[in-house]
């Protein structure tokens, strides 16, 4: 079975982001980028499936600028076999990402597509569900456990009330939650090997997809800042403040 994994290049989760002075977006110059953390988990899961003999080939796909090559290389160093870069400098929103991924899926015919549950830049949490819709496939979102059976896949999902297990007919879409696995670090030899793995580059137009945004960002602002309060000396002082000043208990 071929497994396809979608990986997005995002501002690193450790970066303290800054809103641009003209309120058009956030500062991206001289900022560290890396693979969306949920996508690292997605790649790791695919590699484990291959190691377990359940997957035969892992194709990683990224949509974004030329620099998204680096993200694909990271995935290749973790153990993916080849990459597809849909290269564009335009803003690509989740519906368009899903349409592009569908076009790649139509060509590649994987049995399973794994995505992150959420990109930590736009915090949309949409693309996997949208791709499942466009393909007419089943979806197992927010996965904390995946077990491949015969023609079906069991996915344990992190839901608001606890955990839920569903069985999906294959082919299927899975989106990863934080506790699915702990992604490996690529070893130096694997990073060297990844340099030789193929990456196929194409443009959205080559896939015949209209990627025009449906949402226009009118402005991006900084949220109201909370100001630090006071330090209290002991528990008695704390309880007194909560009772008599904040009046919350």
């Amino acid at each position: 079975m071929k497994v396809l994994v979608a990986v997005k290049r995002v501002i690193d989760y450790n970066v303290k982001i800054r809103v641009k002075a003209d309120n058009t977006g956030v500062e991206t110059a001289n900022v560290k980028f890396s693979m969306n953390p949920f996508d690292e988990i997605a790649v790791e899961e695919a590699v484990r499936l291959k190691e377990a003999g359940k997957a035969t080939e892992i194709v990683v796909v990224s949509i974004g600028p030329a620099t998204a090559q680096e993200t694909l290389r990271t995935a290749l160093a973790m153990g993916a076999d080849r990459g597809v870069l849909v290269q564009t400098d335009e803003e690509i929103q989740p519906l368009a990402v899903a349409k592009l991924l569908k076009a790649v899926v139509d060509k590649e015919q994987p049995g399973l597509v794994i995505l992150g549950k959420q990109a930590i830049d736009d915090d949309s949490n949409q693309t996997g569900q949208m791709l499942a819709a466009l393909l007419g496939w089943s979806q197992g979102t927010f996965a904390s456990k995946v077990a491949i059976g015969d023609g079906s896949i069991e996915v344990t999902r992190e839901v608001d009330g606890g955990l839920e297990t569903v069985s999906l007919k294959m082919p299927a879409i899975v989106t990863t939650d934080l506790r699915l696995n702990e992604p490996r670090y690529a070893s130096l030899p694997n990073i060297m090997k990844a340099k030789k793995k193929p990456i196929d580059t194409m443009a959205p137009a080559d896939l015949g997809v209209d990627v025009a945004p449906r949402l226009v960002t009118l402005k991006v602002e900084e949220p109201a800042k909370r100001k630090a309060g006071i330090k209290v000396g002991d528990i008695a002082a704390l309880v007194d403040k909560l009772k008599n000043e904040a009046k919350v208990i």
Binding site: D160, V216, G229, I235
Partner: protein, 311 residues
């Protein structure tokens, strides 16, 4: 044109998140309809009909909706959506699972986790873990929206008397099925609607030590939450995680114990009215957002807090 809200319910009860979503829907249009899909949902439909400001309740009562699976629910919503200007659901694990599927089937964008309605086509939503707020305008004729419930007041649960109408149930796509669930049981209030929350982090050191927190929670009638580190370490179950990728909460009082205050955690609780931090490291970033900070060892502070609340 009317707007449709997907009701959230469990065990025959309409969930509070539906009430917040109705308020968001009312900001789009006064004619708010609520869809209750499930199996054996008469009581929930009655509860929805009683919500203030609801003009009509639609019911879809069929076995395929029992477990809120995304595929059959989306198939239903796609049929119904055509008559509406907008479809809204709370940004819960069900809403987030289903609405993007609906939007893609209708070839429209989905707008996630809105915190304000500027006008019928313009919304505010947090991005980058809430470190920026984007105002976005939708160019689609139909808006498919998930709502951050903490950003909207709850509509009154009584005062309405909407008519209830059954809808035609489309065929089940039958590509997925429910196997089992492990729901956490708790006598305490639910995290997302609790008035007071006390959360523990890695500093708690073990699941057993959460009893120290629970003692305080019981005295305050509080819900218990956790940081990702505490969940990852297995101290508590996943549904207690507060943060960018866990639950978003905004109680009157949030007490963070042994939590450093990473941006991903702050993303889930920084809109709380009053924040208290108990941490032994005076440099911990959590103190930068805390109204009241106590630099102390939690193993000493928590029993003291429990005792002080008894006074």
């Amino acid at each position: 044109m009317s707007v449709l809200v997907l009701a959230e319910h469990e065990a025959g009860q309409l969930k509070a998140s539906t009430l917040n979503t109705v308020t968001a829907a009312k900001a789009l249009d006064a004619d708010v309809h609520v869809l209750v899909a499930g199996s054996g949902i008469a009581a929930v439909a009655q509860a929805a009909a009683a919500v203030e400001g609801v003009a009509k309740v639609l019911t879809a009562d069929a076995a395929q909706f029992e477990h809120h699976l995304a595929e059959p629910l989306a198939a239903l919503l796609v049929e119904l959506a055509k008559g509406y200007a907008a479809v809204l659901a709370p940004a819960t694990s069900t809403g987030k699972n289903v609405l993007p599927r609906v939007a893609a089937l209708l070839d429209v964008a989905q707008i996630s986790d809105i915190t304000a309605v500027v006008s019928a086509d313009t919304f505010v939503r947090p991005i980058y873990a809430g470190n920026a707020l984007a105002t976005v305008q939708s160019k689609d004729a139909l808006k498919v929206i998930t709502v951050r419930t903490t950003a909207f007041e709850a509509a009154a649960a009584s005062g309405g008397s909407a008519p209830v109408e059954a809808v035609v149930v489309p065929a089940d796509p039958a590509v997925s099925s429910f196997v089992s669930q492990q729901l956490s049981k708790s006598e305490r209030p639910e995290l997302t609607s609790a008035r007071i929350i006390i959360s523990g982090g890695r500093g708690m050191q073990s699941g057993e030590n959460f009893h120290l927190l629970e003692k305080v929670a019981d005295k305050l009638g509080a819900a218990v939450g956790a940081s990702r580190a505490a969940v990852d370490a297995g101290f508590v179950p996943n549904d207690l995680q507060v943060g960018q990728t866990g639950k978003i909460v905004a109680p009157e009082l949030y007490i963070a114990v042994g939590i450093s205050g990473a941006i991903q955690h702050l993303a889930g609780m920084k809109d709380s009215k009053v924040i208290v931090a108990i941490n032994k490291d005076e440099e911990a970033p959590i103190f930068q957002v805390a109204d009241y900070g106590l630099v102390a060892d939690l193993f000493k502070a928590l029993p003291e807090l429990a005792a002080e609340l008894d006074k």
